[in-house]
Amino acid sequence: DQQVKQNSPSLSVQEGRISILNCDYTNSMFDYFLWYKKYPAEGPTFLISISSIKDKNEDGRFTVFLNKSAKHLSLHIVPSQPGDSAVYFCAASPLAGGFKTIFGAGTRLFVKA
């Protein structure tokens, strides 16, 4: 039973356009959400996060939106760049603490030049 779902295994976007990566969760106890980015042959690196008390968090070209009623979050990258090509993992942590961070299966983003 996957508590964090990324239903799109891959996404292809033209350079300069917007990339939108989606994530759904089932556990209403999650209160903190994170996105990690992973290049081949490297470990995931933290990208951006959002607390459940917010609905939007922005950091440069990256914005995360949270819709608690729909249990849905999305990562927007604008403008997309070829260097953004990577696997993006959505993750969620429950109120009780970060030990049990649950990761989604990941979405592979291809940004075409």
């Binding site: 964090v4 990324q6 295994p9 209160d31 903190y32 994170l34 990690y36 042959a41 490297e42 470990g43 995931p44 690196t45 933290f46 996060s49 607390s51 993992f89 942590s93 429950p94 109120l95 009780a96 603490g97 970060g98 030990f99 049990k100 961070t101 990761f103 989604g104 299966a105 990941g106």
Partner: protein, 115 residues
């Protein structure tokens, strides 16, 4: 910069062998984690440790054990490797904080193949 290192990038072992995967972090983090990454399944937590000599089972601990004798080092042990343990293994660490805001820092991963 936080640095998490893993002892091997690639490892090939035979069924039944005992396998040790080592992880070291240099930022004095209290928490350390072992995940495995498989296609379509994302990262799944095997074990974690929140202090020296302390360990807790994650979601898929069967077939694995861990050891944390020093704060900076967290070892994953496959007592008797099996082919279904062929995977990418990722170690991570984080500060002991207020819980849900902990950002995890990952090592580069060890790709283990069990023949």
């Amino acid at each position: 910069d936080v640095k998490v290192t893993q002892s091997s990038r690639y490892l090939v072992k035979r069924t039944g062998e005992k396998v040790f995967l080592e992880c070291v972090q240099d930022m004095d983090h209290e928490n350390m984690f072992w995940y495995r990454q498989d296609p379509g399944l994302g990262l799944r937590l095997i074990y974690f440790s929140y202090d020296v000599k302390m360990k807790e089972k994650g979601d898929i601990p069967e077939g694995y054990s861990v050891s944390r004798e020093k704060k900076e080092r967290f070892s994953l042990i496959l007592e008797s490797a099996s082919t279904n343990q062929t995977s990418m293994y990722l170690c991570a660490s984080s500060l002991a904080g207020t819980g849900s805001s902990d950002t995890q820092y990952f090592g580069p991963g060890t790709r283990l193949t069990v023949l």
